[in-house]
């Protein structure tokens, strides 16, 4: 009996839920458009509208607003949270999807509209939100007939569906402004949410270098969440869920919260989306991976020998619009105790193939005319001889040959060896392995072409330490020792790219060659554990590249980062980079790119 009663109650509940949703829920699910599907186009549109090219587009989190909800909305728990568009220095934040309107075209157009709005308005506050948004709307509808059409349809539709938005009609009369804060207008740009973001810098002296943010899976949460930081470092916090006596083999205290589940939560992303606010602890989590990493390390016989105490170079602060003079410390170093190795067996086939291709290429051959002997008769010279007035005085040089010629080319290869290169391309192959193989294969090819080249790697720990390792300088001969040095390369620390580029440019600048190429091999964005992340890092790198070009050096970047295209275009220009989709093809692609570049 009870069973039937429960089933009956459930059916009633379903009907009620359906009724409520139909009454209150005003979105068009079938016409929903997702930001992720059109983000690339939106990014280009942002540039087109004159938006700052260093700015990123991201998904916004929901915001809670105290609106005057209808009775039904209250019952259905709807109309409390909204995904509103806003922006800050780094990014424009847009809703993850849009389904306000009854057609896909209109829902998609809303995104374009918001981008256009965001590029025109700035510094929105609660006080000026009406004036600024309204003025921009007027600007857009006056300038673009397409937006005018969209605005007319969209605003009419919104007013019709959400009576709270009827204030839109009266905006021109400057009345009913009180209503504005009542219900958010999806076509407006809103002030940046007040984040209680205490991103206070940890003043721990010893940062764990093995922890890089980009390795953390939870970083793929592509959404701006409200964040809060808590001090959870006190060892006494937390409930001890074990008997201390049972621990027999711990000799030293480790900084670990025993209550914490240290397995990776596969559903973390899903949960994170639902959270209103994420609280960030300062303790290093993921102890399991840390221990694993320590255990994996073989005893390291190679030592990096520091060349002097380092020197300082400048960094560009885009917020201030000026250089921070002598801000970054470069620490040049060279690997010692390296065991020279021969070309690894696994690469021999690739190298042989590339060298065969190079043999076929005539790019390094130069045509020599007017020789007394040679490969072919030059018909022009023969005709010229026939036409010459005084044949006895004419040189009888009718042949042409093709000779090899070394090109006046100096190439510096700068490889990013930050910890993110530890990441795997496949189960067995890590990015760093591919980079190492590329450096070896590429060196063999350059050696064959007899072009001058040098190889450096870099990694960084804030502005205090930018490690700049010499694998091969321009004077070194390429030999087994250099191969050995390439073999010792290990992923470490972060990617302060601007500093490494400036240092490389200094070295290339001293070369006498006519053509100078700075070839950067990287797997990702510039980033470091201080503020050198996001836009700050990109703008500094951009500035460094401008300096490089001014010196007459051509920078070119090769990356295996598939998402890289968006910012690489901004950094290197359209023809200044190549994305290698299959990392394992990097060795071959690198050589091809080089040959095309220097043809």
């Amino acid at each position: 009996m009870l069973h039937y009663y429960l089933e009956f109650e459930e059916s009633i509940g379903k009907v009620w839920d359906k009724y409520l949703n139909k009454k209150v829920y005003k979105f068009h699910e079938n016409e929903r458009v997702y930001f992720a599907d059109i983000s690339k186009s939106l990014k280009i549109f942002h540039h087109l509208m004159g938006g700052e090219k260093g700015k990123d587009l991201q998904i916004t989190d929901k915001r809670y607003l105290n609106t005057s909800r209808t009775f039904l909305q209250k019952i259905a728990f709807l109309g409390k949270e909204f995904h509103l568009a806003w922006q800050d220095e780094d990014s424009i934040y847009l809703p993850a999807s849009s389904a306000y309107f009854p057609t896909k075209e209109l829902n998609e157009m809303l995104y374009y509209w918001l981008i256009a709005m965001a590029t025109r308005v700035n510094n929105i506050t609660d006080e000026n939100i009406i004036d600024k948004n309204h003025a921009t709307e007027l600007y857009l509808i006056n300038k673009y007939d397409g937006f005018k059409q969209f605005y007319n349809i969209a605003s009419e539709y919104l007013i019709d569906k959400y009576e709270q938005l009827s204030f839109i009609k009266s905006l021109d009369n400057q009345t009913d402004k009180d209503l504005v804060n009542d219900y958010p207008n999806p076509m407006w740009i809103y002030p940046s949410p007040l984040t209680i973001n205490k991103t206070k810098k940890t003043d721990d002296e010893e940062q764990d270098p093995t922890r890089e943010e980009s390795q953390d899976k939870t970083d793929t949460l592509n959404m701006k969440k409200q964040a809060n930081q808590t001090d959870d470092k006190h060892e006494t916090d937390g409930f001890l869920a074990f008997l201390p006596e049972s621990l027999m083999s711990i000799f030293e205290q480790v900084n670990v919260d025993r209550c914490e589940d240290d397995t990776f939560d596969e559903d973390a992303l899903y949960h994170a989306e639902d959270l209103d606010e994420i609280t960030i602890g300062q303790k290093q989590a993921n102890l399991s991976s840390r221990i694993k990493m320590d255990l994996e390390l073989k005893p390291d016989t190679t030592v990096k020998y520091p060349l002097g105490k380092g020197h300082f170079i400048d960094e560009w602060d885009y917020l201030k619009g000026e250089y921070l003079i002598n801000f970054v410390r470069i620490l040049p170093q060279v690997p010692m105790n390296v065991i020279p190795i021969e070309l690894p067996e696994r690469l021999k086939k690739t190298v042989r193939k590339i060298q065969q291709e190079l043999d076929l290429l005539e790019l390094d051959r130069v045509k020599n005319d007017n020789l007394p002997y040679g490969d072919e008769i030059n018909i022009d010279t023969w005709i010229e001889y026939c036409g010459h007035q005084n044949k006895s005085m004419h040189h009888q040089k009718f042949y042409t040959t093709f000779e090899k010629k070394t090109r006046d080319m100096a190439t510096l290869i700068l490889a990013d060896v930050s910890l993110s290169t530890e990441g795997g391309i496949t189960q067995e192959v890590r990015i760093i392995d591919v980079i190492k193989d590329s450096l070896t294969v590429f060196s063999e090819a350059l050696e064959k072409l007899q072009d001058k080249f040098a190889i450096y790697t870099f990694s960084s720990l804030q502005n205090k330490k930018v490690y700049f390792s010499i694998i091969k300088n321009f004077k070194d001969k390429y030999n087994d020792l250099i191969r050995g040095r390439i073999d010792t390369i290990k992923p470490e620390y972060y990617t302060r790219m601007g500093a490494a580029i400036r240092e490389s440019a200094k070295i290339l600048d001293k070369q006498q060659s006519v053509n100078k190429l700075l070839l950067i091999i990287s797997d990702g964005k510039p980033n470091d554990e201080d503020r050198y992340d996001g836009r700050y890092g990109i703008e500094d790198t951009k500035k460094a590249l401008e300096e490089v070009k001014k010196k007459g050096i051509t920078p070119f970047c090769i990356t295996v980062d598939l998402d890289a295209k968006e910012y690489l275009g901004y950094l290197f220009g359209r023809n200044g980079y190549a994305v290698v989709r299959d990392g394992q093809k990097l060795p071959k692609v690198l050589t091809e790119v080089y040959i095309n570049l220097t043809k």
Partner: protein
């Protein structure tokens, strides 16, 4: 009336005329379709000089510029190249996209581009002194080249340099109106589209829309083509092959020239 319509943007006409008077060679830099060739042609007309245009490429040899021996039934004879013709008879020798030519080819210009103004032809043993009306003009597009290609500094430093860019909005509007016959409103919209597309140069598209393409769009519109379609074929499709870029450019065009089907109720 002049055959070539050219609307000056700045002081380029005076500068060019003065250079012509003083026998100075001129170098013009600027993006594709901004009016470099049109400018030279109109200057040739104004100065009453023939324009010998050579479009440079990888295989352009010194003989292609200077001339070569040829064979006919009577034996061999010498034929002047365009440069030699201009040097002998007077006229403007215009080497378009000089950066594409091999570096050893451009060296023959050196003696013509400095105070000597002579051309030595090794093959005939001749040294020709340039005609008083001879003028050397070269051009290149700094954005459109192999990343490592550049002009030899020793060549570059023999020229008076002029930088061209796309015309200012007002001037470009006048040019479009005059060349294609569209009305003020359409011309303004075409100029606005171009202005926005040009913000994508180098980052999202290789090269921005040229004035030439805007004129094409205008011409299609005056032939009763739907403005949206005209812009799609002359501007959007010509600029990129990438889907995302095409989509955005299409969106931009539809903002200026909305199609009724674009926005459904």
């Amino acid at each position: 009336m002049s055959k070539n319509y050219y609307l000056p943007q700045s002081n380029e006409v005076e500068l060019f005329k003065t250079a012509a008077q003083m026998n100075l060679p001129v170098l013009i830099k600027g993006p594709t379709g901004c009016g470099k060739t049109r400018f030279i042609e109109s200057m040739g007309e104004e100065l009453g000089r023939d324009v010998y245009t050579v479009v440079c490429h990888d295989d352009l040899s010194a003989a292609d510029l200077i001339g070569r021996h040829l064979i006919d039934e009577n034996g061999t004879y010498w034929q002047d190249g365009p440069l030699t013709k201009a040097v002998r008879n007077g006229g403007i020798c215009y080497l378009d996209e000089i950066i594409e030519a091999r570096k050893d080819t451009t060296v023959v210009l050196h003696s013509l581009a400095d105070y000597r103004r002579v051309l030595s032809i090794d093959r005939t043993g001749e040294t020709i002194e340039a005609h008083p009306d001879f003028m050397l003009v070269v051009s290149y597009n700094p954005g459109y080249q192999n990343v490592l290609k550049g002009m030899k500094p020793s060549t570059k430093q023999r020229f008076i340099s002029l930088s061209f860019d796309y015309p200012k909005s007002e001037i470009e509007k006048e040019i479009i109106k005059k060349e294609s016959g569209v009305d003020e409103d359409i011309a303004q919209k075409l100029v606005d589209i171009a202005k926005e597309v040009r913000q994508l140069t180098d980052v999202d598209i290789q090269e921005a829309v040229s004035t030439r393409l805007l004129i094409y769009a205008g011409k299609l519109i005056t032939k009763d083509f739907d403005p949206y379609q005209a812009c799609m074929h002359s501007i959007v499709e010509s600029l990129s092959d990438e889907d995302e870029v095409l989509k955005v450019l299409e969106k931009l065009v539809s903002l200026y020239f909305p199609r009724s089907s674009n926005v459904k109720k």
